[in-house]
Amino acid sequence: MIKPEKYLDPDVSVLSVSAMIIELFKSGNLLTYSEVFQKVIKKKGDQAKVIFLPALDLLFLLGKIEYHKEIDTLEFKK
């Protein structure tokens, strides 16, 4: 799912969606989960729904985001 391959649509790949999520945090370090989700789906389409969580997982594994459960908010780690 992460590695490029023949049947990967680059526009809805994990890398593409992760990059887009990083862009969203340019205006601030905190965004609610639903804000991020809706902006991603608005731009990438319904196909991105399946990719959204894996994209967040990737950013989490890279140490770029943290999820605050009590306020349902994602924090970008610079």
Partner: protein
């Protein structure tokens, strides 16, 4: 073209095949095989052959025909077992038949391999033993040549085209086709105007030459299936179909492996596609008969997308 004659259901089916060939080359009067009092199974024909060994000089008189079947794909007339069977079992009986009735011609049909050298030596040996000039033996090579010219016999006996049926795990492609059929949106009736296929066609011309896919068949792919390819691509690219994509990838890897192994058994690549189509359909009649056009479409897609065949 080679045919899997050894996969026929036993010697009775082979005898039926031989009789069908005899009806063509000798005449409709060739009797079906029967077991004589001496225990041997022969077919008899009496008269002037229609076109055996040729139309200009056909054999005539009393014929005895024998059919020697083997389940082995590699058995040969050079094998000592074959000659021993002829020497110990058949010749004594044939000689007795000659004593009772004159014999004018003796023909053996077998699906064993027969080289030119072995043919010559066996023929000369039989002629000497029986004291009959019109003696011949036909191996699998001759049978396949006759079958290539008589497709109705091939169909009658359901002998697979090509030497081997390509068997693979076809359930995945079945599931894919069924899901795609439910999922597909509006299918383009014609190729979309904003998609330029011209450079892809040039690539494919080279691919077609490498794979020996005929120009006529490529036109068939373009007219029959090309309009679906964009939709299939979107279907496979859709992340929600990642599990189905995995099935597709497993299928094409297996198919590519099987095609590579069997390639020499087929002439044109479209023969392979036809064998695959028939195999998938035969295995999934109830589920795919109403969607069988999509079987061809997917196979064409695999080829066009360089998932099968030489790139």
């Amino acid at each position: 073209m080679r045919y899997d004659i050894h996969l026929l259901e036993g010697s009775t089916a082979f005898e039926g095949l031989v009789i069908s060939i005899c009806h063509d080359i000798l005449g409709i009067g060739a009797h079906t095989f029967s077991t004589g009092k001496d225990g041997g199974r022969d077919s008899k024909f009496e008269g002037t052959a229609t076109k055996y060994p040729s139309t200009t000089s056909p054999w005539q008189g009393k014929f005895i025909v024998q059919a020697k079947f083997t389940e082995s794909a590699v058995a040969s007339c050079s094998d000592s077992a074959f000659k021993n069977q002829l020497k110990n079992e058949e010749l004594p009986r044939i000689k007795k038949l000659i004593e009772i009735n004159d014999l004018d011609a003796y023909i053996i049909f077998t699906n064993r391999k027969l080289t030119a050298g072995t043919h010559h030596s066996l023929q000369e040996w039989l002629r000497g033993e029986l004291n009959v000039d019109n003696v011949d033996i036909h191996g699998v090579e001759d049978l396949c040549a006759w079958l290539s010219a008589n497709k109705d016999i091939v169909d009658q006996f359901k002998i697979d085209r090509g030497a081997k049926q390509i068997r693979f795990y076809e359930k995945d492609i079945k599931d894919l086709i069924i899901t795609f059929n439910k999922d597909k949106t509006e299918l383009a009736k014609t190729v979309e105007n904003n998609f330029d296929f011209s450079d892809k066609f040039l690539d494919k011309q080279e691919k077609n030459v490498k794979n020996n896919l005929s120009a006529v068949y490529f036109e068939h792919i373009k007219s029959n299936s090309l309009a679906y390819f964009d939709e299939i691509n979107k279907f496979l690219n859709d992340p929600k179909n990642s599990a189905l994509l995995e099935l597709y990838k497993q299928t094409v890897v297996e198919l590519q492996h099987k095609i590579t192994i069997s390639r020499e058994d087929f002439d044109k690549f479209e023969d392979i596609l036809d064998v695959l189509y028939q195999y998938i359909l035969d295995k999934n009649q109830s589920e795919l008969s109403s969607r069988r056009a999509l079987i061809q479409v997917f196979l064409h897609f695999m080829y066009f997308n360089c998932d099968i065949g030489i790139k």
